[in-house]
């Protein structure tokens, strides 16, 4: 079943398909990273493929190889019931600036899985709408599932988070959580960094609007 798909891909994208093999009944196609998005779109839309579900997307780190990372996607078609494993190999041995096209515009499930892949392996998905860490916190140093990340490594302590320059903190102001109609806290003077007009422009406006005598 999936063999037919592999032949189709070989015919359609002769240059993009680098290698194909099957193991334990899983058909695998290794793609050129440049045509990653194009082939994925074809597999999603072409009538003989109709892979409408991206079941899994992850990566494997092979530090001694060049290219170092394998991005692995598992596709499934609910109509035809066939599966296909797609792979592409990216990155050099330094592991810096690893890039591959994002497929989050094709399948909604790619959004979080690419974020996880970025978090764990440091692979940049070009075109992802919101590429930030998902399982780790923003101050985390390194990418834990890389083979050169020691499992015993102790992370630096995160300093107390101040201001709103933090992507995982909500854009709160000092007014958050105050009951409506009780603005007594404003009269007790500026609170922390609230007085900084660059960080809290809305705080400044609000305090001016609500306390005309101040």
């Amino acid at each position: 079943m999936a063999q037919r798909l592999v032949d189709l891909l070989k015919n359609q994208f002769a240059l993009a398909v680098l290698e194909t093999y099957a193991q334990h009944g899983d058909e695998t196609v290794v793609l050129d990273p440049g045509s990653w998005h194009e082939v994925c779109r074809f597999l999603r839309d072409a009538p003989p493929a109709q892979m409408n579900m991206l079941t899994d997307l992850t990566a494997v780190d092979y530090p001694e190889r060049d290219p170092r990372f394998e991005v692995v996607a598992h596709l499934y078609s609910l109509q035809h019931g066939h599966r296909l494993r797609l792979k592409t190999r990216v990155g050099d041995r330094t592991g810096e600036d690893v890039r591959v096209d994002s497929i989050s515009d094709l399948w909604g499930s790619a959004n979080w899985m690419e974020r996880e892949c970025y978090d764990m392996f440091g692979i940049q998905f070009v075109g992802h709408p919101d590429l930030r860490r998902i399982l780790m916190y923003p101050e985390f140093v390194g990418h834990p599932l890389r083979k050169d990340y020691p499992a015993e490594r102790i992370q630096p302590l995160v300093p107390y988070r101040e201001g709103i320059n933090n992507e995982k903190l909500p854009p709160f102001t000092a007014f958050e959580g105050m009951p409506f109609g009780r603005q007594t806290h404003q009269q007790s003077g500026p609170l922390g960094s609230e007085s900084d007009p660059e960080l809290f422009p809305e705080a400044l406006d609000a305090s001016q609007g609500r306390n005309p005598e101040a």
């Binding site: 334990h24 899994d56 990340y149 499992a151």
Partner: protein, 404 residues
């Protein structure tokens, strides 16, 4: 008593037209997992929401790369802590697929019976907790009573109530106990009675139905695109069940139906789980009938299976074999596999990469919850704040599996 508001101008009492930010979780009584929803509200309507996970990340995939293949079992146990047996079975099947082993019939039926019991406990927990969060405490207590019966069976069979670590590559840790069939039959009958009683209590309750009907709708296309599987996808009307679509183990010999919803709202997800409990009961009944009362539980393969204890203690060959399997770990031939089973929440996949040594090179657990939770944003955007609770409850996010 004089209120403070009286000395304020009337205009000051009016609510801000600015959007209001509200933060639910990561620790919130209505969030039975550690997830955080940052919401931007306009009045009571959710305009934007950012769902943040990762508060329960314990680095399982990294830890799996440090031990032997058998030492992965405790980690998969702790992934989905309401149906750990299904994870055990899923991982065993993935390893066996790489080794090319087929387990004995006794083991296969035993796995199915235990796995379906675990699925019942998963759905009982989810539906019970969902009802409790909406204020119906009695069904929660009843359903947890039912789960307790399952856990008693699990304790009898495996020695542990929650984290069994009972699966083994090529078999199970021990054969079924003598009284297994009887206790399982009794418990399943009692659970079915509990479920029917809860149904009567809930489905005649106007408040309960009003809070679920038409809330948190998602279309089949959206659910497929988001990678949803399991009860949440079936509630949207897609009859995809791994047990039916790609039978593994010996599920092809069983007669059961796949309950499907039509609307894809919270009520459908609730009802699909209730119906799946009944289907699981059917499967368990058939599995108990087929389960042979004697015969080997483990395959006869010295590469992966530990020798019997009499041999280990009394013969040098047995001792060496035991030592090698424990210390070096069982060797899985180099290669990779993607094996998928129907977990409590959907397709539980294991993408395993082996380099031929006794240690896994990469264990990727494809958690169904992770993708279902990623759809929470789409489900609750545009809904009211009070709808977050039934929506989140019906998705059955399991923190351990989502964050690993």
């Amino acid at each position: 008593m004089e209120t403070q508001d009286l000395d304020l101008e009337r205009s000051e009492l009016e609510l801000d037209a600015e959007p209001m930010f509200i933060n639910v979780g990561p620790a919130h009584p209505a969030m039975h997992g550690t997830v955080r929803c940052q919401m931007e509200l306009s009045g009571e309507v959710i305009e934007r929401v950012d769902v943040q996970v990762g508060y329960l990340h314990r680095g399982f995939e990294k830890m799996c790369e440090r031990g032997t293949w058998s030492q992965v079992y405790p980690y998969v146990d702790r992934c989905n802590y309401v149906s750990p047996m299904l994870n055990n079975v899923g991982f065993s099947l993935a390893c066996e697929k790489m080794l090319g082993i087929e387990v004995t019939p006794r083991c296969a039926y035993y796995r199915i019976a235990l796995g379906e019991l675990a699925r019942m406990s998963d759905h009982l927990t989810c539906d019970g907790a969902m009802a409790m969060e909406l204020g119906a405490f009695t069904p929660f207590l009843w359903m947890i009573k039912g789960r307790e019966m399952i856990w008693d069976i699990m304790e009898e069979e495996t020695g542990a109530r929650l984290t069994h670590s009972f699966g083994r590559v090529g078999g199970m840790a021990s054969p079924p106990t003598d009284g297994f069939k009887e206790t399982a039959r009794t418990a399943v009958a009692e659970i079915l009675a509990i479920v029917e009683e809860s149904e009567r209590l809930l489905f005649g309750n106007r408040i309960f139905l009003d809070r679920l009907q038409g809330i948190g709708k998602i279309s089949a296309e959206d659910a497929i695109s988001l990678g949803w599987t399991g009860p949440c996808l079936r509630a949207s009307g897609v009859p995809y069940d791994v047990r039916k679509a790609h039978p593994y183990g010996r599920y092809d010999e069983f007669d059961f139906d796949v309950p499907v919803g039509s609307e894809g709202d919270c009520l459908d997800r609730f009802v699909v789980r209730i119906e799946e409990i009944k289907q699981s009961a059917r499967i368990i009944e058939q599995a108990l009938k087929k389960l042979p009362s004697s015969g080997p539980i483990n395959v006869d393969d010295p590469r992966v299976v530990l020798p019997p204890k009499e041999q280990v203690y009394n013969t040098i060959e047995g001792t060496i074999r035991h030592f090698k399997v424990i210390m070096e770990g069982l060797k899985i031939p180099a290669g990779e596999v993607y094996s998928y089973t129907e977990g409590g929440n959907g397709e539980l996949g294991f993408y395993l990469v082996s380099d031929g040594s006794g240690t896994p090179y990469r264990v990727r657990i494809r958690p169904p919850c992770f993708l279902v939770t990623s759809g929470l944003e789409r489900v609750i955007t545009g809904a009211m704040v009070s709808d977050v609770v039934p929506c989140f409850g019906s998705l059955n996010m399991i923190g351990g599996e989502c964050d690993r």
